[in-house]
């Protein structure tokens, strides 16, 4: 299968992405002709100032086209050199900043939401399907929420809710996971736990994680990219076709994620902070 991957010694399969996004009404660009590569089976962290358009890029990759935008997107696989956009978007699971759990469903039903939304009318409800239920319970087990499977969502704490959201993302069994600052709303300790947990669960998944926290990127990322500021991501002359701007790769430790916070990491942390401040 195209999306399965084995990490060979020196050459990793990569998605090459080129994207532009433009407001329909004003024809202003959110970003123009930016390019980035996503190595398959690895976690890529996308750092950037808030408001620079990194969330928009993520949504564009998920395929959430709004009427307000003109979107231009191409996704290629370096090895097969084929256009993959539809294929890519079929294989995406999306996790947003908010947990987005539906309050009228139990924890289990929230995890099963994706099956429920794609269920045909008159077919068996997914919560009565033993195979799916077992699958959901085992994933809830992995995120440490099995005991709460039948709880009402509003009884859970913020960290627990994010765990359920993580389970809901994982159960979709997609090769690609796109995450938009998923742990930014929980406290530092919970965040650290969630980072370690999700890192351990993302084996062989291609992950693009948008974050504004350099430390989070350093803990979780195989690769770190810096999103340019809005003013740099678009050309000033409207008629001129701009050259493609590749996102800058940021320095990172040689060790593999999930990395432990320590002296090594704080050295890189300081460097990343400098880089990001220099953007302003």
């Amino acid at each position: 299968m195209m999306l399965s991957n084995q990490k060979s010694d020196n050459e990793i399969d990569v998605y090459d992405i080129k994207a532009s996004l433009q407001y329909t009404q004003t024809s202003d660009f959110v970003y123009q002709e930016i390019s980035l590569s996503l190595p398959l089976g690895q976690v890529t962290c996308l750092l950037g100032q808030s408001g620079c358009g990194k969330s928009s890029l993520l949504k564009q990759l998920v395929g959430l086209h709004r009427e307000a935008y003109v979107a231009d997107l191409s996704i290629q696989n370096t090895k097969t050199d084929s256009l993959l956009r539809a294929d890519f978007q079929q294989n995406v699971a999306y996790m947003a900043q908010q947990d987005l759990l539906l309050p009228w469903l139990s924890v289990l039903d929230n995890v099963l939401l994706t099956f429920d939304l794609n269920r045909l009318f008159f077919s068996k409800k997914s919560q009565h399907n033993t195979v799916l239920k077992e699958k959901a319970l085992s994933i809830l087990e992995q995120v440490g929420m099995r005991e709460n499977a039948n709880s009402k969502v509003f009884t859970l704490s913020g960290g627990m809710r994010q765990r359920v959201a993580l389970a809901r993302t994982l159960i979709q069994d997609k090769a690609i996971i796109l995450m938009d600052e998923p742990f930014s709303s929980v406290d530092a300790i919970t965040r650290h736990k969630l980072q370690q947990l999700s890192s351990s669960l993302f084996i062989n998944k291609t992950v693009l994680l948008v974050t504004h926290d350099p430390l989070e990127a350093l803990i979780m990322g195989h690769n770190l990219l810096l999103f340019p500021l809005a003013s740099c991501a678009k050309s000033t002359l409207k008629n001129e076709r701009p050259s493609v701007v590749a996102l800058e790769k940021l320095p990172k430790p040689n060790s593999l994620p999930p990395r432990v916070i320590g002296d090594d990491l704080s050295h890189f942390h300081a460097r990343l902070m400098q880089k990001m401040q220099a953007q302003l």
């Binding site: 959430l64 995406v92 009228w104 939401l113 939304l117 794609n118 009402k152």
Partner: protein
Amino acid sequence: MSTGLYRIFVTFLFLLLVWWLLVYITEVPSFILPAPEAVFVRFWQLRDVLYPHLLVTLTEIVFGILIGVLAGLVFAMLMVYFKPVRLWLLPVLLVSQAIPVFAIAPVLVLWFGYGLVSKVVMAAVIIFFPILMTSFDGLRQSSKAYLDLAQSMQASSWKILLRIQLPAALPIMASGIRMAMVVAPIGAIIGEWVGSSQGLGYFMLYANARMQVADMFAALLLLCLLSTFLYFVADQCLKRAIFWQQDTTQ
């Protein structure tokens, strides 16, 4: 709950006392305002007479609410779903609300006859707009982030409407439904006033014409109890249906 009942009881007694004092201080003739005890006596004496009228009015109200809520909901869904419907229909509906429902009651009776149907239509028409607007607002205001999530799961827009937007709209729709519960009886009663041969509205008009004001008040009392009961039932059902919303006024 028990304190709620206690409050209702105290309020009721207080109002009775005011009524009683009013009658005895002003010595108003009983064909203008009968004393409360006279009304209660008539209420009890007329229980077998009032009962069939109550059933008729209740049927009109219940069917009116069912049809009004369903129609309001369907139109709201169409308006959310199809932009042309929203753009063309909404102004028409807004303007239609400028026509007083009471003014078209005779026409409705003319069109739908003296029987049940014209009253059901009346009750449905009078609640249609509050239901439509609250449903429309509720469906429209569902958070974009939830829709994004559902879309990322490749869900059809029909599924998103049923599984996400509709439940999410329920708290806002609930206000419309609660309002409908107390407004729908007005529609049914107006319908009965314009032309009917049974129902509490008919009975009130009949008693009024014969100067049997105590009888009229007895029917009015029954109507109040009916409306309150309907509201209470709806409120309890809605509270159970929207269990995830916390009541912050408590």
